[in-house]
């Protein structure tokens, strides 16, 4: 594989991990979030600080990073308990800007200079680089996908689906909206934190601008494109929206236009996403692949 391809695929894999987290919050639990880049940033900054200041390795820092992210997800998920729909969307945008501002203006986080000198991930005493780092990212993506799949099979996941569909009815069946919304936020933020941690050790430099609001929008676009609430939707969405700008590179200035055009066509003709309910892929391709199980 060429270095160029490895770079693109690594970035796509990291983004897919983050979008899997967004899928838990938006797709499973139905809580809109337009601030998911902030959660990725919290993971990236935690990993950066723990490795540069505390001297921890990627592996020893990882449980801490995930714990920090779970805690932040819990705190930043609190608005979802009182707000719905567009109000929650606006609040999560606000959270994105606040988190970004904290990274930018609090000296502890390196200010405008960001944090540099983040070490590479070490495995068996060897630095993990190039295609091997891609394998690491793909392995993490695999874990995240399996955990997502397991979550959809247990009662906690079913409770989140019920809250997404009809909160009052869910509550009348013993489902605490507080507990299960926060659970979804925690899990989704931990996935984002894992993606952020990989990002920090891959770029070996983080700054506040890396986790700005437009990135949150593109995460949501990936999820919508791939199919909210579907297991593989985040992967498909990240792959397509990650690869498109590269494929359209020869078109120079027009590539953003094509990017926007594809999104608009999707929203018009396949609002459920590529792998969503009643999508073309589900109706035409799945019966061919799986013999029409459902």
């Amino acid at each position: 594989m060429s270095g160029y391809l490895v770079t693109i695929l690594t970035q796509i894999a990291i983004q897919a991990i983050v979008v899997c987290g967004l899928n838990v919050i938006v797709g499973y639990a139905g809580q809109i979030s337009l601030g998911h880049a902030a959660f990725m940033g919290i993971g990236a900054y935690s990993a950066a600080l723990l490795s540069t200041r505390a001297g921890l390795s990627f592996w020893t820092a990882l449980p801490l990073v995930l714990a920090i992210c779970a805690l932040c997800g819990l705190l930043l998920g609190l608005p979802s308990l009182k707000l719905k729909h567009d109000f929650l969307a606006i609040t999560t945008i606000g959270i994105n800007f606040i988190v970004q501002a904290v990274f930018l203006y609090v000296p502890f986080f390196g200010g405008a200079m960001g944090i540099s000198g983040i070490p590479r991930v070490q495995f068996l005493g060897e630095p993990v680089r190039g295609v091997h780092f891609l394998y690491l990212c793909l392995a993490c993506l695999g874990v995240v996908t399996v955990v997502s799949w397991l979550f959809t099979r247990v009662f906690a996941g079913l409770a989140c689906f019920a809250l997404r569909e009809e909160e009052a009815a869910a509550a009348s069946m013993g489902i605490s909206p507080v507990r299960f919304k926060l659970l979804a936020f925690m899990l989704g933020t931990m996935f984002a934190g894992l993606g952020g941690s990989l990002y920090a050790h891959y770029m070996r430099f983080v700054s506040a601008d890396d986790f700005s609001f437009p990135l949150s929008v593109s995460f949501l676009a990936m999820l919508v494109l791939g199919g909210m609430g579907s297991l593989l939707g985040p992967l498909v969405g990240a792959l397509i929206l990650g690869a498109l700008p590269e494929l359209f590179r020869p078109l120079a200035e027009f590539r953003i236009l094509f990017y926007a055009l594809i999104l608009l066509l999707m929203i018009r003709f396949q609002p459920g996403g590529i792998l969503g309910e009643a999508s073309l892929v589900r109706r035409r391709l799945y019966p061919l692949l799986f013999g029409g199980a459902k």
Partner: protein, 264 residues
């Protein structure tokens, strides 16, 4: 097995200046089918919402199975064994009918950490949920998306879900409305069957024939106040109830206001 399962004491709620429920008292005994009647806007559904925790009362108390439950959130009240249906049906539209019931089957799991690793797709869970669907006659539609069902089937789905939750008490909010005659007959059999299995039933009903036929005792509400209480036969004869539903006889209009309840 005797004694009151649900006690409502001086229950009130005010929305601004509107006294939607105003000092209502009643007790439901174990194993009873209890009817809550009244004209539109009498406060029946609000009373349901106060009992099931959707609203917090402005005053008064609700006791369920020896425990005070007013002020508890809906999910905590449900966990005590109180299931309810909604007058305006609230299915989980993109889930299948079977999965809708499986959500309700999780009632004992949700408060415990085990809900993080207990699968809802096991054969045992599915069989239990199918048994509930068979009781309400929806087994044929188990794999259909709930959002695609007509109203009559959604009312039955509501009952199936409430049955999974309500081990002790079932609140049915106008479950008979919008049903055909033969469907009503089936549902009456089901309600009696539910009671026969030891579940107490509180129902709101507009269909007088159904309410009178099913209920052991009835409370009639009007403008948020209790108008009458007693067995169906007595309620049918009650002057104030007849007046609330049909209005008073002509010639009695000189004394407006609720004071002259015993106009003749």
């Amino acid at each position: 097995m005797s004694g009151a399962l649900l006690q409502v004491k001086n229950l009130s709620i005010h929305f601004g200046g509107l006294r939607a429920v105003d000092g209502v008292d009643f007790e439901i005994n174990r194993g009873e089918i209890f009817g809550l009647l009244g004209p539109n806007g009498a406060g029946k559904t609000v009373t349901f919402n106060l009992i099931s925790g959707v609203y917090k009362p402005s005053g008064g108390e609700v006791w369920f199975d020896g425990r005070r439950i007013d002020g508890l959130p809906p999910h905590a009240i449900a966990a005590l064994g109180l299931g309810r249906t909604f007058q305006i049906v609230k299915p989980f539209p993109s889930l299948t009918v079977l999965d809708n019931v499986l959500v309700a089957r999780g009632i004992s799991r949700y408060p415990r950490a085990a809900c993080l690793w207990t699968s809802w797709r096991s054969g045992r869970e599915r069989r239990e949920a199918m048994a509930l669907l068979e009781r309400v006659g929806l087994a044929d539609l188990a794999w259909r998306k709930a959002g695609l069902l007509p109203l009559g089937n959604l009312r039955r789905l509501e009952i199936a879900r409430a049955l999974a939750v309500g081990r002790k008490l079932l609140l049915l909010d106008e479950s008979f409305s919008g049903l055909r005659t033969e469907e009503i007959a089936k549902l009456e059999v089901l309600v009696r069957d539910i009671r026969a299995q030891g579940v107490t039933v509180l129902l709101i009903e507009h269909n007088m024939r159904v309410a009178m036929g099913l209920s052991d005792r009835i409370v009639v509400l009007d403008h948020g106040r209790k108008l009458a209480e007693g067995p169906p036969a007595a309620i049918q004869q009650d002057e104030s109830v007849i007046e609330a539903y049909l209005g008073r006889k002509s010639g009695d209009q000189a004394s407006p206001g609720g004071g002259a309840a015993h106009a003749s």
